[in-house]
Amino acid sequence: MSEPVLRVQDLAVNFISHTGGLMRRRERVLRAVNGISFELHPGETIGIVGESGSGKSTLARAILGLIQPNRGRVMWLGENLTELEEEALRQKRKEIQIVFQDPIASLNPRMTAGDIISEPLWTFYPNMARLQVEERTRGMMKMVGLLPNQINRYPHEFSGGQCQRIGIARALVLNPRLVICDEPVSALDVSIQAQIVNLLQDLQKKLGLALIFVAHDLSVVKHISDRVMVMYMGCSMEVSVRDALYHRPLHPYTSALMKSVPIPDPKLAAAARQDSWLTGDMPSPYAPPKGCIFHTRCPYKVKRCEADVPALRRMENGDWVACHRAEELDLSI
């Protein structure tokens, strides 16, 4: 296999908050991302899945350098992004771009679609000829399924799905090699979600992009991912090749996430109800459980899980899992 373009090594981000007022000031540490490692090859898609609060967006932002990590390295084509000066890091954004969750809120309402899509060009290539910029902008609009004659329209004149297409065009206009999609479809209607997922998949094939696709729903990343990483409270619970993950998840949390996906079939849904899914809420991130971080909600918990932290380890088939009982449990679907 080719050299990975991105190598994330033991990345950690802590957020510090203060409580107790002026006189009895105390610090609380929230480990939003807690030692995440993975590799991404050219043209590959990794899906990152977890509930809200699992640290997936923070991870995405830390890779881009929008948040300074407390520990670890982000190796981009052999260069450590976390050590770069601001300007040097800014230049790297030509190669690494992001698509945000809320398509309407992430576009400036006072700029036209054309302005939004061409802004990165003006920023990075201020000497580019106006005609060339316009041509490129129209080309991008066409590529993401917008009509080039909509170039002078404002975001409010587009639907949510179309706004997300503008966001994608803006991310792709600089010809990046990696695009990080942070929940790009979770704010959209189901009928439009599929359009955007298909569009990203097409563009990825056409342009040979590497993609990081963040979502809270395993069913959304299924079609687009080559590999999937499941996160829980800042930790990586499982990193598996797609088909292996969907046929036989290794971690009880992955299995629980899969069981909570609604099935659009009344009879199957009633049958699936017999299976118990995840109960309760995530524990407070300020006081994470000892031992396995998932043990408070895990139906397969044994004594050992309360004391020992399971390391992320490689299984025989090459997938990674952080569970003491991965070998003995059969969570096949």
């Binding site: 080309g139 066409k142 590529m143 099935i263 009344p266 809420d281």
Partner: protein, 340 residues
């Protein structure tokens, strides 16, 4: 007699660009003990439909038609009478649990206010009742949690509080507007299940509004599918899921990403975008996006009753349709070939 019978309901909004017909000619009823799902994309008019019934339309909105609830037309009665029905006989759960609770008041204050007003309970009675409801929606340690503020609750917990508040006065009809959409899938499953169980226990009727058909598969009796302000199909849950007649319903069902389907297939989509209500296509409103659209669709299709009692607003008889275009070529309609 049906608990709620809606006849020829229209909702209009005056906007600077012109009059928008958000809902046109809706007729439906909700029987006692029944759960009705109203499904459609954003802008289909599903929320405005129930807002009109509840008398909660925005200032630039107006509604006409009838909504008979236990023999009273909700569209005609005075605001005072409506106030007595709202909260007590008809309760509503809103979409966003983060913004529907008052951040400055404890959960106790917000929950007891309703019952003290509607049922004239004393403070300690109201409090006991609130704790009991929180327990019913499975909030752990309700005696303590009732004293807390909304920010001390997680998203799923807040939605449970909303549900508990909706159920406080034991309403005859509960309207839930996308109760689980803003939540994680894991919590979504819990909430959907909870709503279904509570409804079974209390024998109340329910209207469940959603854009995701998969969510309602398990807990509904009947489904209305709305598109661009109109009812395009209605039937029992089995009819809609196993025998959808309208191309839009079929598209909605197929675009749900599923874990039990092969992952290499491209996801099915409904091409195009929801229409602009100010500029609707003539004839069938779904015409522009329909893969089966043909000449006759330029005329307005009537809501046709099928043999089994389902209704569908489409000229094409799906049962005898031979015209099935190849699905392969209907992907990104405007996508060009050039790459940068």
């Amino acid at each position: 007699m049906a608990l709620l019978e809606v006849t020829d309901l229209q909702v209009q909004f005056e906007t600077p660009e012109g009059v928008v017909e958000a809902v046109t000619g809706m007729d439906f009823c909700v029987e006692t003990g029944e759960t009705l799902a109203i499904v459609g994309e954003s802008g289909a008019g599903k929320s405005q439909l129930v807002m009109a019934i509840m008398g909660l339309l925005a200032e630039n909105g107006s509604a006409s038609g009838r909504a008979d609830f236990k023999g009273q037309d909700l569209m005609q009665i005075s605001p005072r009478q409506l106030n007595n029905i709202r909260g007590r006989e008809i309760a509503m759960i809103f979409q966003d649990p983060m913004t529907s609770l008052n951040p400055f008041l404890t959960i106790e204050k917000q929950m007891t206010e309703v019952v003290m007003h509607h049922q004239g309970l004393r403070k300690h009675e109201a409090r006991a009742h609130a704790v009991e409801m929180l327990r019913a929606v499975r909030i752990p340690d309700p005696e303590e949690r009732v004293k807390q503020y909304p920010h001390e609750y997680s998203g799923g917990m807040r939605q449970r509080v909303m549900i508990a508040m909706g159920l406080l006065c034991e309403p005859d009809l509960l309207i839930a507007d996308e109760p689980s959409t803003a939540l994680d899938v894991t919590v979504q499953a819990q909430i959907t299940q909870l709503v279904g169980e509570l409804r079974e226990k209390s024998h109340m009727s329910m209207i469940l509004i959603t854009h995701d058909l998969a969510v309602v598969a398990e807990i509904c009796d009947r489904i209305i599918v709305m598109y661009a302000g109109e009812m395009v199909e209605t039937g029992t849950v089995d009819d809609i899921f196993y025998h959808p007649r309208h191309p839009y319903t079929q598209g909605l069902l197929e675009s749900v990403p599923r874990l039990d389907r092969p992952s290499d297939d491209e996801l099915h989509t409904i091409p195009g975008n929801p229409p602009n209500l100010l500029d609707l296509p003539s004839g069938c409103r779904f015409r522009d996006r329909c893969i089966r659209s043909r000449e006759i669709c330029r005329e307005k299709p009537p809501l046709q009753i099928r043999e089994d009692g389902c209704m569908s607003r489409c000229f094409i008889d799906m049962d005898n349709d031979e015209f099935l275009p190849d699905r392969g070529d209907k992907g990104e309609e405007n996508a060009g070939e050039d790459s940068p």
